[in-house]
């Protein structure tokens, strides 16, 4: 119903936004196969040299492996801690329940740098001086909210009388949870798990304060590399991360649906 000129303006803005959203990603992919030694997009001339460099670069591979391990462990720990917490928040009535839910979701909204600084000082005070343990401990704070959030959303739709039904039919309570509730929550684990994994894998502000020279995670290594010796190999690493993200989104679309995962 909106008249032409206004509608045109809105469409033009949308088009511009769309281009701006995709431009940095497309450029990164193009630079990674560029024949130029600097960050340039070359037309009609491709080269695999930056990918070969990346393939041979041990520093990056160990950083990628380290980050993947940290992300996997902290997501797993978040599932262990988060599942019972989400059940308690969704089902039990106890004082401070809303405050607890707010506390668990709060890392999503606090400035990452402030969290990192607080942990640097706090963990030191505890005597936690093993960098790897400190990083995982810090990352669990970042992964737990994603897990709890998606399990809470799934529990809101879950019919708890099914558990009573299973118990009437002779299941023990833990068995009923395992056989009835966990499968119903599987999509929530997939979407929460993927977002949690990516949150840890991409985390810079916490890692930078807790990592030492031997435990540089991928984001820490990548930023250092961009600032110190910029060359298109960074574009190859970035493209690799982009492929990982696309695979994660495909999994999300397959098991959960993109609309539900985006919480709209």
């Amino acid at each position: 119903m909106i008249k032409r000129p206004l509608e045109k303006l809105v469409f033009a803005t949308t088009g511009l936004v769309l281009a701006i959203q995709l431009a940095p990603i497309v450029v990164v992919v193009l630079v990674s196969v560029s024949a130029s030694p600097v960050f340039d997009v070359t037309v009609g001339e491709f080269s695999a040299r930056w990918w070969e460099r990346l393939w041979a670069n041990r520093t990056f591979w160990s950083a990628i492996t380290l980050s993947a391990q940290i992300a996997a462990v902290s997501t797993f720990l978040a599932i262990l801690l988060g599942t019972p917490a989400a059940i308690a928040i969704a089902r039990a009535e106890f004082p401070g329940r809303d405050a607890l839910a707010a506390l668990i979701l709060s890392p999503l909204m606090l400035p990452g740098i402030v969290l990192g600084i607080a942990m640097l000082q706090g963990f030191k005070a505890y005597g936690l001086t093993i960098p790897l343990a400190a990083i995982v401990a810090g990352h669990v704070v970042m992964t737990l909210p994603f897990i709890v959030r998606s399990i809470l959303a799934a529990l809101a739709l879950f019919d708890f009388t099914l558990i009573d039904a299973a118990r009437t039919l002779g299941c023990s309570f833990p068995r009923a949870i395992r056989k009835v509730m966990i499968p119903a929550l599987a999509p929530a684990y997939v979407s929460g798990g993927i977002f949690a994994f990516l949150a840890s894998f991409d985390n810079y502000p916490i890692s930078i304060f807790l990592a030492d020279a031997r435990t540089k995670t991928l984001p820490v290594q990548l930023l250092e590399f961009i600032e110190e010796s910029p060359n298109p190999m960074i574009a190859a690493v970035s493209t690799l991360l982009l492929v990982l993200t696309i695979l994660a989104l495909l999994a999300l679309e397959r098991f959960v649906g993109l609309r539900r995962a985006a919480a709209i």
Partner: protein, 294 residues
């Protein structure tokens, strides 16, 4: 508020439930204990560091920090950066969400993918992409020169417009999703009705669509503002050392100059600004605040 809304029966039931302890609540203990140890105590310590003045407690660190015009400039610069990024993201994000809400299911999905993919991509990758785009012989300058808008390449990298557009673009999905969430619930007939009654398109927008979508817009504004003021990676990559924001000063206080009191003071100022923005968002949307940040 709840006391007014709830009637006596519900209150009595709640009180009874509270007396009869629910063993399910015990399941929350591990996560709660973990968060107290790994988050609440460290943040409490930071608070203590910021408010401790010569053995006592006071606001001396803050007044002393803010008394210096240079530091005040850092706070102002951070707020200005946050406000400009939010403005750009709000305009672009609203138009995008509006088009998304009015598109057919296929187009809508395509537009959704086009923001969810960048949103899920690592911030470093996106900031690096912007770094390449904004270089003096980068794509943006090529386009500007080819279209005849400028003759000489503009120094976009390490410039404020480049930083603001780059940051706005990276945070834009957090603006689009909440606005789209409310826009798609507005019935298309409402617009038709307003137009039938003689409203001009701009009048219809101002009187019908904008008020109805305001909660989503305000939520988006608060989220983007809080993320922009606390951004660290993006300004680090897209600007030089001369551009100081609170998060950069806070990080440098620990990583470079080793001044924990200064670091705690700056961190708490940043925390207060970000918290105020999120709190406002929480008040406006009665959704759980965390839900938006996928």
């Amino acid at each position: 508020m709840t006391a007014i809304a709830g009637n006596a029966g519900i209150m009595a039931k709640r009180a009874a439930a509270r007396r009869r302890f629910d063993p399910l609540a015990l399941l929350a203990i591990p996560a709660a204990a973990y968060f107290v140890v790994a988050l609440v105590f460290p943040l409490g310590r930071l608070l203590l560091d910021g408010f401790s003045v010569g053995g006592g407690v006071g606001i001396g660190n803050f007044t002393r920090y803010l008394a210096d015009p240079y530091n005040l400039g850092v706070v102002w610069n951070t707020l200005r950066y946050g406000a400009l990024v939010t403005l750009v993201a709000a305009i672009g994000g609203y138009a995008y969400a509006y088009t998304m809400a009015r598109s057919g299911p296929k187009m809508q999905m395509l537009l959704l993918i086009a923001i969810v993919l960048p949103m899920t991509t690592s911030v470093i990758v996106k900031a690096f992409g912007w770094l390449v785009l904004l270089r003096s012989n980068g794509l943006v300058n090529h386009l500007l020169m080819a279209s005849g808008i400028v003759r000489e390449p503009l120094p976009l990298l390490f410039s404020q417009p480049g930083l603001i557009v780059g940051t706005a673009s990276i945070l834009l999905p957090y603006m689009v999703l909440p606005i789209f969430g409310v826009l798609r619930q507005i019935h298309p007939d409402l617009l038709g009705a307003a137009a039938t009654l003689g409203g001009s398109p701009i009048y219809c927008f101002r009187k019908v669509i904008l008020p109805l979508s305001l909660p989503g817009l305000i939520a988006g504004i608060c989220f983007v503002f809080s993320m922009a003021v606390s951004a660290y990676v993006i300004p680090s990559l897209l600007t030089g050392a001369g551009f100081k924001t609170l998060s950069k000063v806070a990080a440098d206080s620990y990583l470079v100059i080793l001044n924990p009191v200064r670091g705690a003071t700056v961190s708490l100022i940043l925390l207060a600004i970000a918290f105020a923005a999120v709190f406002l968002a929480g008040r406006v949307v009665n959704r759980k605040p965390g839900q938006m940040r996928a």
